[in-house]
């Protein structure tokens, strides 16, 4: 069994899984969990893509 995920796919999956786990760990009410998960996921992606672009000049 092999998975060949791209950088973006791996980041998306990782961010989603960690956000869900943190949401369920730290919040009790469903609405609070959803908000936390959405916010955490957004920040994961923003930082991931931001750091990726910040490194771009060094690779060229």
């Amino acid at each position: 069994m092999k998975f060949h995920l791209s950088h973006l796919q791996a980041m998306l999956l990782f961010a989603l899984m960690i956000s869900i786990a943190f949401g369920f760990l730290s919040r009790r009410r469903p609405l609070e969990r959803v908000k936390y998960i959405a916010w955490s996921l957004l920040l994961f992606l923003l930082f991931g893509i931001g750091i990726g672009w910040a490194m771009y000049p060094f690779s060229h």
């Binding site: 092999k2 998975f3 060949h4 950088h7 999956l13 990782f14 899984m17 869900i20 760990l25 009790r28």
Partner: protein, 138 residues
Amino acid sequence: MTDETQIVAASPPDTKGEVRAIAFGIAGWLVPGLGHALQKMWGRAITFFAVVGVLVFVGAGMRGNLFNSDGGDAFAALGYVADLGTGSLYLLARFIEVGGPDVSHAYGDYGTRFLAAAGVLNLLAALHAYEAARGRKA
């Protein structure tokens, strides 16, 4: 799911309660989510089982490095501890990864991170189950 609104007690648990809490913590480590399931926190139990399971399954499928006890340096030892955090799923990862790790590609390296993250996350969940059983977390 309804029972997740329990807890927040101030008094420390007795010895029996402490043993029970430790047992829940160990159960949660061995099988992701079991520590919460035994306390009828079904939402958290299913979520932790699914999240840790997906991370291990995909991480091993990406041929991430699954560390063993004879790593040789501090980083390998830390990686081993993190991987062991997945409990019984460590054996599942070994079973899935029959071809061994392949970190010569980027996805193999990602797989290593997935496996380590799954372990650390499961340890966190097990600690949460322990604390919840002691009445210190909701």
